[in-house]
Amino acid sequence: MQDTLIEAIALRHAYQAGKPVLNDVNLAIKAGEVVAVLGPNGTGKTTLIHALLGSVAAQFEQLTLFGERQHGQHRKRALQRQIGVMMQVAGLTANLTVTEQLTLFASYYGTPIPVPELLQRFALTELATTQFGNLSGGQRQRLLFAIAVCGAPKLVFLDEPSLGMDITARHLMWQQVKWLRQQGCGVLLTTHYLEEVVALADRVVVLGHGSVTTELSMDVFKAQAAHADISIEQHYLTLIGAQQHVDDLSE
Protein backbone atom coordinates (compact mmCIF):
# COMPACT_ATOMS: atom_id res chain seq x y z
CA MET A 1 0.00 0.00 0.00
CA GLN A 2 1.32 3.44 -0.90
CA ASP A 3 1.53 6.11 1.79
CA THR A 4 -0.14 9.43 1.06
CA LEU A 5 2.51 12.12 1.37
CA ILE A 6 0.28 15.12 0.82
CA GLU A 7 -3.47 15.49 0.56
CA ALA A 8 -5.40 18.70 0.00
CA ILE A 9 -9.17 18.95 0.16
CA ALA A 10 -11.02 22.00 -1.17
CA LEU A 11 -7.92 24.15 -1.63
CA ARG A 12 -8.81 27.74 -2.52
CA HIS A 13 -6.82 30.87 -3.19
CA ALA A 14 -7.45 34.28 -4.71
CA TYR A 15 -4.84 36.99 -5.21
CA GLN A 16 -7.71 39.46 -5.63
CA ALA A 17 -11.08 39.22 -3.93
CA GLY A 18 -13.67 37.66 -6.21
CA LYS A 19 -11.09 36.31 -8.67
CA PRO A 20 -10.17 32.81 -7.43
CA VAL A 21 -7.01 31.30 -8.87
CA LEU A 22 -7.65 27.97 -7.14
CA ASN A 23 -11.19 26.85 -6.61
CA ASP A 24 -11.88 23.81 -4.41
CA VAL A 25 -8.93 21.79 -5.69
CA ASN A 26 -8.55 18.27 -4.32
CA LEU A 27 -5.17 16.63 -4.77
CA ALA A 28 -3.21 13.78 -3.23
CA ILE A 29 0.25 12.42 -3.95
CA LYS A 30 1.44 9.04 -2.75
CA ALA A 31 4.95 7.76 -2.15
CA GLY A 32 6.58 6.58 -5.37
CA GLU A 33 4.00 8.37 -7.52
CA VAL A 34 4.56 11.02 -10.18
CA VAL A 35 1.54 13.29 -10.64
CA ALA A 36 1.56 15.61 -13.65
CA VAL A 37 -0.48 18.78 -13.25
CA LEU A 38 -1.39 20.13 -16.66
CA GLY A 39 -3.30 23.10 -17.92
CA PRO A 40 -2.94 26.19 -20.08
CA ASN A 41 -0.87 29.13 -18.84
CA GLY A 42 -2.53 31.01 -16.01
CA THR A 43 -4.72 28.17 -14.75
CA GLY A 44 -3.09 28.09 -11.33
CA LYS A 45 -0.44 25.35 -11.58
CA THR A 46 2.33 27.38 -9.94
CA THR A 47 -0.10 28.88 -7.42
CA LEU A 48 -1.16 25.34 -6.51
CA ILE A 49 2.45 24.54 -5.54
CA HIS A 50 2.77 27.77 -3.55
CA ALA A 51 -0.53 27.06 -1.78
CA LEU A 52 0.50 23.52 -0.83
CA LEU A 53 3.86 24.77 0.46
CA GLY A 54 2.36 27.65 2.41
CA SER A 55 4.03 30.51 0.57
CA VAL A 56 0.60 32.00 -0.24
CA ALA A 57 -2.25 32.32 2.23
CA ALA A 58 -4.59 29.70 0.77
CA GLN A 59 -7.74 28.37 2.43
CA PHE A 60 -8.53 24.67 2.62
CA GLU A 61 -10.90 22.29 4.32
CA GLN A 62 -8.05 19.96 5.05
CA LEU A 63 -4.38 19.80 4.20
CA THR A 64 -2.28 16.89 5.38
CA LEU A 65 1.48 16.74 4.91
CA PHE A 66 3.25 13.49 5.82
CA GLY A 67 0.22 12.59 7.92
CA GLU A 68 0.21 15.88 9.86
CA ARG A 69 -2.74 18.26 9.60
CA GLN A 70 -1.61 21.71 8.48
CA HIS A 71 -3.14 24.98 9.61
CA GLY A 72 -2.58 28.28 7.82
CA GLN A 73 0.68 29.00 5.99
CA HIS A 74 3.17 27.71 8.52
CA ARG A 75 5.00 24.49 7.67
CA LYS A 76 7.25 22.94 10.31
CA ARG A 77 10.95 22.90 9.50
CA ALA A 78 11.03 19.14 10.07
CA LEU A 79 8.44 18.77 7.28
CA GLN A 80 10.22 21.24 5.00
CA ARG A 81 13.36 19.11 5.30
CA GLN A 82 11.47 16.28 3.56
CA ILE A 83 10.42 18.45 0.63
CA GLY A 84 12.37 19.54 -2.44
CA VAL A 85 11.24 22.41 -4.65
CA MET A 86 12.23 23.59 -8.09
CA MET A 87 10.41 26.74 -9.10
CA GLN A 88 10.16 28.31 -12.55
CA VAL A 89 11.75 31.64 -11.85
CA ALA A 90 14.43 30.77 -9.34
CA GLY A 91 17.68 32.57 -10.05
CA LEU A 92 20.66 32.01 -7.79
CA THR A 93 23.43 34.27 -6.56
CA ALA A 94 25.23 34.88 -9.84
CA ASN A 95 28.81 34.74 -8.57
CA LEU A 96 28.72 31.54 -6.51
CA THR A 97 29.89 28.38 -8.25
CA VAL A 98 27.84 25.24 -8.83
CA THR A 99 29.64 23.43 -5.98
CA GLU A 100 29.17 26.38 -3.62
CA GLN A 101 25.45 26.61 -4.39
CA LEU A 102 24.99 22.88 -3.77
CA THR A 103 27.09 22.95 -0.58
CA LEU A 104 25.07 25.89 0.75
CA PHE A 105 21.70 24.34 0.00
CA ALA A 106 22.69 20.85 1.16
CA SER A 107 23.65 22.31 4.54
CA TYR A 108 19.96 23.13 5.17
CA TYR A 109 19.13 19.42 5.39
CA GLY A 110 19.88 16.78 7.98
CA THR A 111 21.08 13.98 5.69
CA PRO A 112 21.76 15.52 2.30
CA ILE A 113 23.03 13.70 -0.76
CA PRO A 114 26.82 14.29 -0.93
CA VAL A 115 27.74 17.10 -3.30
CA PRO A 116 30.06 14.95 -5.50
CA GLU A 117 27.19 12.51 -6.03
CA LEU A 118 24.86 15.37 -6.98
CA LEU A 119 27.42 16.72 -9.43
CA GLN A 120 27.75 13.33 -11.06
CA ARG A 121 24.04 12.51 -11.04
CA PHE A 122 23.10 15.79 -12.73
CA ALA A 123 26.09 15.89 -15.13
CA LEU A 124 27.46 18.98 -13.40
CA THR A 125 30.96 17.71 -12.58
CA GLU A 126 32.60 19.65 -15.40
CA LEU A 127 30.72 22.77 -14.33
CA ALA A 128 31.57 22.40 -10.63
CA THR A 129 33.71 25.56 -10.52
CA THR A 130 31.57 27.59 -12.92
CA GLN A 131 29.65 30.48 -11.42
CA PHE A 132 25.87 30.44 -11.79
CA GLY A 133 25.91 33.60 -13.89
CA ASN A 134 28.04 31.86 -16.52
CA LEU A 135 25.76 28.82 -16.93
CA SER A 136 23.42 28.39 -19.88
CA GLY A 137 19.66 28.24 -19.31
CA GLY A 138 19.58 24.45 -19.47
CA GLN A 139 22.59 24.10 -17.15
CA ARG A 140 20.90 26.40 -14.65
CA GLN A 141 17.79 24.23 -14.76
CA ARG A 142 19.95 21.16 -14.04
CA LEU A 143 21.52 22.88 -11.06
CA LEU A 144 18.12 23.99 -9.75
CA PHE A 145 16.88 20.43 -10.09
CA ALA A 146 19.94 19.16 -8.20
CA ILE A 147 19.21 21.72 -5.46
CA ALA A 148 15.61 20.48 -5.27
CA VAL A 149 16.74 16.93 -4.53
CA CYS A 150 19.93 17.66 -2.54
CA GLY A 151 18.17 17.01 0.77
CA ALA A 152 17.09 13.49 -0.28
CA PRO A 153 13.42 14.55 -0.07
CA LYS A 154 10.36 12.34 0.17
CA LEU A 155 8.23 14.77 -1.82
CA VAL A 156 9.39 16.92 -4.72
CA PHE A 157 7.64 19.78 -6.50
CA LEU A 158 8.94 20.43 -10.01
CA ASP A 159 7.49 23.49 -11.70
CA GLU A 160 8.23 23.19 -15.43
CA PRO A 161 11.64 21.66 -14.74
CA SER A 162 12.67 21.00 -18.35
CA LEU A 163 12.07 24.56 -19.53
CA GLY A 164 15.07 25.58 -21.66
CA MET A 165 16.73 22.15 -21.51
CA ASP A 166 18.07 20.51 -24.66
CA ILE A 167 16.99 16.94 -25.48
CA THR A 168 19.97 15.33 -23.73
CA ALA A 169 19.42 17.32 -20.57
CA ARG A 170 15.71 16.61 -20.66
CA HIS A 171 16.31 12.86 -20.86
CA LEU A 172 18.81 13.17 -18.00
CA MET A 173 16.13 14.95 -15.99
CA TRP A 174 13.63 12.21 -16.80
CA GLN A 175 16.10 9.58 -15.55
CA GLN A 176 16.42 11.45 -12.29
CA VAL A 177 12.66 11.72 -11.85
CA LYS A 178 12.41 7.95 -12.43
CA TRP A 179 15.21 7.45 -9.89
CA LEU A 180 13.29 9.57 -7.36
CA ARG A 181 10.20 7.42 -7.93
CA GLN A 182 12.26 4.27 -7.39
CA GLN A 183 13.42 5.74 -4.08
CA GLY A 184 9.76 6.04 -3.04
CA CYS A 185 9.66 9.79 -3.52
CA GLY A 186 6.40 11.42 -4.54
CA VAL A 187 6.67 13.98 -7.35
CA LEU A 188 4.33 16.77 -8.43
CA LEU A 189 5.32 17.85 -11.91
CA THR A 190 3.92 20.75 -13.90
CA THR A 191 4.86 20.84 -17.55
CA HIS A 192 3.66 21.77 -21.03
CA TYR A 193 5.58 18.89 -22.67
CA LEU A 194 3.20 15.97 -23.16
CA GLU A 195 5.99 13.55 -24.08
CA GLU A 196 7.39 14.27 -20.64
CA VAL A 197 4.04 13.45 -19.09
CA VAL A 198 3.82 10.19 -21.03
CA ALA A 199 7.38 9.26 -20.05
CA LEU A 200 7.06 10.05 -16.35
CA ALA A 201 3.58 10.44 -14.97
CA ASP A 202 1.50 7.82 -13.17
CA ARG A 203 -1.45 10.16 -12.94
CA VAL A 204 -2.61 13.26 -14.78
CA VAL A 205 -4.49 16.16 -13.22
CA VAL A 206 -5.81 18.83 -15.58
CA LEU A 207 -6.51 22.30 -14.20
CA GLY A 208 -8.91 24.70 -15.88
CA HIS A 209 -9.66 28.13 -14.40
CA GLY A 210 -8.33 27.00 -11.03
CA SER A 211 -10.41 23.83 -10.76
CA VAL A 212 -9.54 20.22 -11.45
CA THR A 213 -11.41 19.43 -14.66
CA THR A 214 -9.95 15.96 -15.24
CA GLU A 215 -8.06 13.43 -13.14
CA LEU A 216 -6.96 10.18 -14.75
CA SER A 217 -4.35 7.53 -14.39
CA MET A 218 -1.78 7.64 -17.18
CA ASP A 219 -2.98 4.27 -18.46
CA VAL A 220 -6.55 5.50 -18.77
CA PHE A 221 -5.36 8.75 -20.37
CA LYS A 222 -3.46 6.80 -23.03
CA ALA A 223 -6.27 4.26 -23.49
CA GLN A 224 -8.81 7.05 -24.06
CA ALA A 225 -6.60 8.59 -26.73
CA ALA A 226 -6.09 5.20 -28.38
CA HIS A 227 -9.79 4.42 -28.23
CA ALA A 228 -10.68 7.71 -29.91
CA ASP A 229 -7.85 7.10 -32.41
CA ILE A 230 -6.27 10.47 -31.68
CA SER A 231 -2.84 11.49 -30.46
CA ILE A 232 -2.12 12.21 -26.80
CA GLU A 233 -1.77 15.87 -27.74
CA GLN A 234 -5.17 15.96 -29.45
CA HIS A 235 -6.71 14.20 -26.49
CA TYR A 236 -5.23 16.77 -24.12
CA LEU A 237 -6.45 19.64 -26.31
CA THR A 238 -9.93 18.10 -26.21
CA LEU A 239 -9.77 17.82 -22.45
CA ILE A 240 -8.90 21.49 -22.04
CA GLY A 241 -11.49 22.46 -24.66
CA ALA A 242 -8.93 23.88 -27.07
CA GLN A 243 -9.21 21.34 -29.94
CA GLN A 244 -11.86 23.34 -31.78
CA HIS A 245 -9.77 26.50 -31.47
CA VAL A 246 -6.71 24.71 -32.89
CA ASP A 247 -8.79 23.29 -35.76
CA ASP A 248 -10.13 26.76 -36.53
CA LEU A 249 -6.61 28.16 -36.61
CA SER A 250 -5.44 25.31 -38.88
CA GLU A 251 -8.23 26.05 -41.33
Binding site: L53, V85, V89, T93, N95, Y108, Q131
Partner: protein, 242 residues
Protein backbone atom coordinates in the same frame (compact mmCIF):
# COMPACT_ATOMS: atom_id res chain seq x y z
CA UNK B 1 21.56 24.56 12.80
CA UNK B 2 24.77 26.49 13.45
CA UNK B 3 26.18 25.15 10.16
CA UNK B 4 23.34 26.83 8.27
CA UNK B 5 24.14 30.19 9.86
CA UNK B 6 27.87 29.73 9.19
CA UNK B 7 27.37 28.72 5.57
CA UNK B 8 24.90 31.51 4.87
CA UNK B 9 27.34 34.05 6.31
CA UNK B 10 30.32 32.53 4.50
CA UNK B 11 28.71 32.44 1.07
CA UNK B 12 27.07 35.85 1.41
CA UNK B 13 30.46 37.37 2.19
CA UNK B 14 32.15 35.37 -0.57
CA UNK B 15 29.58 36.61 -3.05
CA UNK B 16 30.19 40.23 -1.99
CA UNK B 17 33.96 39.81 -2.15
CA UNK B 18 33.49 38.74 -5.77
CA UNK B 19 31.54 41.92 -6.47
CA UNK B 20 34.02 44.83 -6.76
CA UNK B 21 31.11 47.03 -7.84
CA UNK B 22 29.83 46.73 -4.27
CA UNK B 23 32.91 46.74 -2.09
CA UNK B 24 35.12 49.28 -3.89
CA UNK B 25 32.68 52.20 -3.55
CA UNK B 26 31.64 51.03 -0.07
CA UNK B 27 35.24 51.01 1.17
CA UNK B 28 36.77 53.85 -0.82
CA UNK B 29 34.01 56.44 -0.72
CA UNK B 30 34.09 57.14 3.06
CA UNK B 31 37.90 57.04 3.19
CA UNK B 32 38.41 59.40 0.24
CA UNK B 33 35.58 61.65 1.39
CA UNK B 34 37.03 61.88 4.90
CA UNK B 35 40.59 62.44 3.71
CA UNK B 36 39.60 65.29 1.39
CA UNK B 37 36.85 67.04 3.35
CA UNK B 38 37.76 66.02 6.89
CA UNK B 39 41.57 66.14 6.81
CA UNK B 40 42.93 68.04 3.78
CA UNK B 41 40.22 70.71 3.45
CA UNK B 42 38.31 70.66 6.75
CA UNK B 43 36.16 73.69 5.93
CA UNK B 44 33.41 72.40 8.18
CA UNK B 45 35.80 72.95 11.07
CA UNK B 46 35.40 71.45 14.50
CA UNK B 47 37.32 69.07 16.67
CA UNK B 48 39.32 66.47 14.63
CA UNK B 49 37.83 63.62 16.67
CA UNK B 50 34.28 64.89 16.05
CA UNK B 51 34.94 65.09 12.31
CA UNK B 52 36.38 61.56 12.24
CA UNK B 53 33.45 60.11 14.20
CA UNK B 54 30.97 61.85 11.88
CA UNK B 55 32.62 60.28 8.83
CA UNK B 56 32.74 56.90 10.61
CA UNK B 57 28.97 57.11 11.10
CA UNK B 58 28.53 57.96 7.45
CA UNK B 59 30.87 55.15 6.39
CA UNK B 60 29.30 52.26 8.33
CA UNK B 61 25.71 53.11 7.37
CA UNK B 62 26.53 52.55 3.68
CA UNK B 63 27.22 48.78 3.65
CA UNK B 64 24.24 48.10 5.93
CA UNK B 65 21.82 50.02 3.75
CA UNK B 66 23.20 48.94 0.38
CA UNK B 67 23.89 45.28 1.16
CA UNK B 68 20.38 44.74 2.43
CA UNK B 69 18.43 46.89 0.00
CA UNK B 70 20.13 45.86 -3.22
CA UNK B 71 20.78 42.20 -2.38
CA UNK B 72 17.30 41.57 -0.99
CA UNK B 73 15.64 43.34 -3.92
CA UNK B 74 17.72 41.25 -6.35
CA UNK B 75 17.12 37.97 -4.51
CA UNK B 76 13.41 38.72 -4.35
CA UNK B 77 13.14 39.64 -8.02
CA UNK B 78 15.09 36.59 -9.22
CA UNK B 79 13.01 34.21 -7.15
CA UNK B 80 16.03 33.20 -5.03
CA UNK B 81 14.37 34.53 -1.90
CA UNK B 82 11.18 32.54 -2.69
CA UNK B 83 13.23 29.37 -3.09
CA UNK B 84 15.00 30.01 0.22
CA UNK B 85 11.70 30.60 1.99
CA UNK B 86 10.47 27.23 0.75
CA UNK B 87 13.61 25.54 2.05
CA UNK B 88 14.18 24.58 5.71
CA UNK B 89 16.63 27.46 6.11
CA UNK B 90 15.46 29.85 8.87
CA UNK B 91 15.04 33.33 7.42
CA UNK B 92 16.98 34.63 10.42
CA UNK B 93 20.07 32.88 8.94
CA UNK B 94 19.62 34.87 5.73
CA UNK B 95 19.27 38.12 7.70
CA UNK B 96 22.20 37.40 10.01
CA UNK B 97 24.38 36.57 7.00
CA UNK B 98 23.59 39.89 5.38
CA UNK B 99 24.23 41.79 8.61
CA UNK B 100 27.50 39.99 9.33
CA UNK B 101 28.72 40.82 5.80
CA UNK B 102 27.80 44.45 6.40
CA UNK B 103 29.69 44.38 9.69
CA UNK B 104 32.74 42.89 7.97
CA UNK B 105 32.91 45.84 5.59
CA UNK B 106 32.03 48.27 8.39
CA UNK B 107 35.05 47.06 10.40
CA UNK B 108 37.36 47.64 7.43
CA UNK B 109 35.89 51.11 6.89
CA UNK B 110 36.33 51.98 10.58
CA UNK B 111 39.93 50.76 10.69
CA UNK B 112 40.72 52.78 7.56
CA UNK B 113 39.15 55.94 8.96
CA UNK B 114 40.82 55.42 12.37
CA UNK B 115 44.21 55.12 10.65
CA UNK B 116 43.57 58.26 8.57
CA UNK B 117 42.29 60.15 11.63
CA UNK B 118 45.14 59.01 13.85
CA UNK B 119 47.87 59.57 11.26
CA UNK B 120 46.80 62.75 9.45
CA UNK B 121 44.38 64.52 11.76
CA UNK B 122 45.94 64.02 15.18
CA UNK B 123 42.88 62.28 16.58
CA UNK B 124 43.78 60.94 20.00
CA UNK B 125 41.36 58.80 21.99
CA UNK B 126 41.86 56.47 24.91
CA UNK B 127 41.84 52.73 24.28
CA UNK B 128 38.45 52.53 26.01
CA UNK B 129 37.07 55.24 23.73
CA UNK B 130 38.30 53.48 20.58
CA UNK B 131 36.69 50.22 21.71
CA UNK B 132 33.43 51.83 22.87
CA UNK B 133 33.24 53.87 19.66
CA UNK B 134 33.70 50.75 17.54
CA UNK B 135 31.02 48.87 19.48
CA UNK B 136 28.50 51.73 19.18
CA UNK B 137 29.22 52.22 15.48
CA UNK B 138 28.83 48.52 14.67
CA UNK B 139 25.73 47.89 16.78
CA UNK B 140 24.20 51.11 15.53
CA UNK B 141 24.09 49.80 11.97
CA UNK B 142 21.16 47.52 12.87
CA UNK B 143 18.35 50.03 12.24
CA UNK B 144 19.95 50.95 8.91
CA UNK B 145 20.21 47.27 7.96
CA UNK B 146 16.49 46.92 8.72
CA UNK B 147 15.75 50.05 6.71
CA UNK B 148 17.69 48.52 3.81
CA UNK B 149 15.73 45.28 4.24
CA UNK B 150 12.41 47.11 4.02
CA UNK B 151 13.58 48.98 0.91
CA UNK B 152 14.71 45.67 -0.63
CA UNK B 153 11.36 44.05 0.13
CA UNK B 154 9.36 46.84 -1.49
CA UNK B 155 11.55 48.11 -4.37
CA UNK B 156 12.69 46.42 -7.57
CA UNK B 157 16.38 45.63 -7.96
CA UNK B 158 16.70 48.58 -10.35
CA UNK B 159 14.93 51.05 -8.05
CA UNK B 160 16.61 49.98 -4.78
CA UNK B 161 20.05 51.66 -5.35
CA UNK B 162 18.37 54.92 -6.36
CA UNK B 163 16.06 54.87 -3.33
CA UNK B 164 18.99 54.16 -0.99
CA UNK B 165 21.01 57.03 -2.44
CA UNK B 166 17.98 59.26 -2.19
CA UNK B 167 17.69 58.75 1.56
CA UNK B 168 21.32 57.97 2.52
CA UNK B 169 23.00 61.20 1.45
CA UNK B 170 20.29 63.65 2.63
CA UNK B 171 20.00 61.77 5.96
CA UNK B 172 23.76 62.08 6.44
CA UNK B 173 23.82 65.79 5.61
CA UNK B 174 20.74 66.72 7.64
CA UNK B 175 22.07 64.87 10.70
CA UNK B 176 25.21 67.01 10.63
CA UNK B 177 27.62 64.30 9.57
CA UNK B 178 29.41 66.53 7.06
CA UNK B 179 28.71 70.01 8.42
CA UNK B 180 28.12 70.51 12.19
CA UNK B 181 24.47 71.12 13.00
CA UNK B 182 25.43 74.24 14.96
CA UNK B 183 26.34 76.07 11.75
CA UNK B 184 23.18 74.98 9.92
CA UNK B 185 19.83 76.83 10.10
CA UNK B 186 17.51 76.06 13.01
CA UNK B 187 14.96 74.28 10.84
CA UNK B 188 17.64 71.77 9.76
CA UNK B 189 18.28 71.01 13.42
CA UNK B 190 14.59 70.35 13.98
CA UNK B 191 14.61 67.96 10.99
CA UNK B 192 17.67 66.21 12.41
CA UNK B 193 15.82 65.18 15.57
CA UNK B 194 13.55 62.98 13.44
CA UNK B 195 16.37 61.20 11.63
CA UNK B 196 18.01 57.92 12.71
CA UNK B 197 21.37 59.21 11.46
CA UNK B 198 21.19 62.01 14.05
CA UNK B 199 20.46 59.71 17.01
CA UNK B 200 23.04 57.18 15.82
CA UNK B 201 25.73 59.84 15.44
CA UNK B 202 24.84 61.39 18.81
CA UNK B 203 25.45 58.05 20.52
CA UNK B 204 28.85 57.85 18.83
CA UNK B 205 29.62 61.49 19.69
CA UNK B 206 28.75 60.79 23.32
CA UNK B 207 31.69 58.35 23.48
CA UNK B 208 34.09 61.21 22.72
CA UNK B 209 32.12 63.80 24.69
CA UNK B 210 31.06 65.80 21.63
CA UNK B 211 27.31 65.19 21.62
CA UNK B 212 24.62 67.86 21.93
CA UNK B 213 23.64 66.82 25.45
CA UNK B 214 20.43 64.84 24.99
CA UNK B 215 20.30 61.76 27.19
CA UNK B 216 21.56 58.45 25.85
CA UNK B 217 18.16 56.93 26.69
CA UNK B 218 16.41 59.21 24.19
CA UNK B 219 18.74 58.20 21.35
CA UNK B 220 18.58 54.50 22.25
CA UNK B 221 14.78 54.58 22.60
CA UNK B 222 14.43 56.25 19.19
CA UNK B 223 16.64 53.67 17.49
CA UNK B 224 15.04 50.70 19.28
CA UNK B 225 11.50 51.83 18.43
CA UNK B 226 12.50 52.52 14.83
CA UNK B 227 14.17 49.08 14.56
CA UNK B 228 11.09 47.36 16.01
CA UNK B 229 8.84 49.23 13.58
CA UNK B 230 11.01 48.36 10.59
CA UNK B 231 11.23 44.71 11.70
CA UNK B 232 7.44 44.58 11.92
CA UNK B 233 7.05 46.08 8.43
CA UNK B 234 9.59 43.55 7.05
CA UNK B 235 7.78 40.68 8.77
CA UNK B 236 4.42 41.85 7.40
CA UNK B 237 5.87 42.16 3.90
CA UNK B 238 7.42 38.68 4.10
CA UNK B 239 4.04 37.23 5.06
CA UNK B 240 2.34 38.97 2.14
CA UNK B 241 4.97 37.98 -0.42
CA UNK B 242 4.02 35.16 -2.81
Amino acid sequence: MLTIYQNEAKYDLLSLLRTPGFYLPALLFPAVFYYFFGVLFPYSGGDPARVMVAYCCFGVIGPALFNFAIAVAGDRQQGWLALKRLSPMPMSAYMMAKWSSSLFFAVIILLTLYVIGGSFSEVTLTRGQWLALTAVLLLGTLPFALLGLVIGLFCSDKAAPAVVNLIYLPMAFLAGLWVPLSVLPDYVQSIAYGLPTYHFSQLAMKVIGQDQGLSMGVHCAYLVVLSAGLAWVAHYRFRRMA
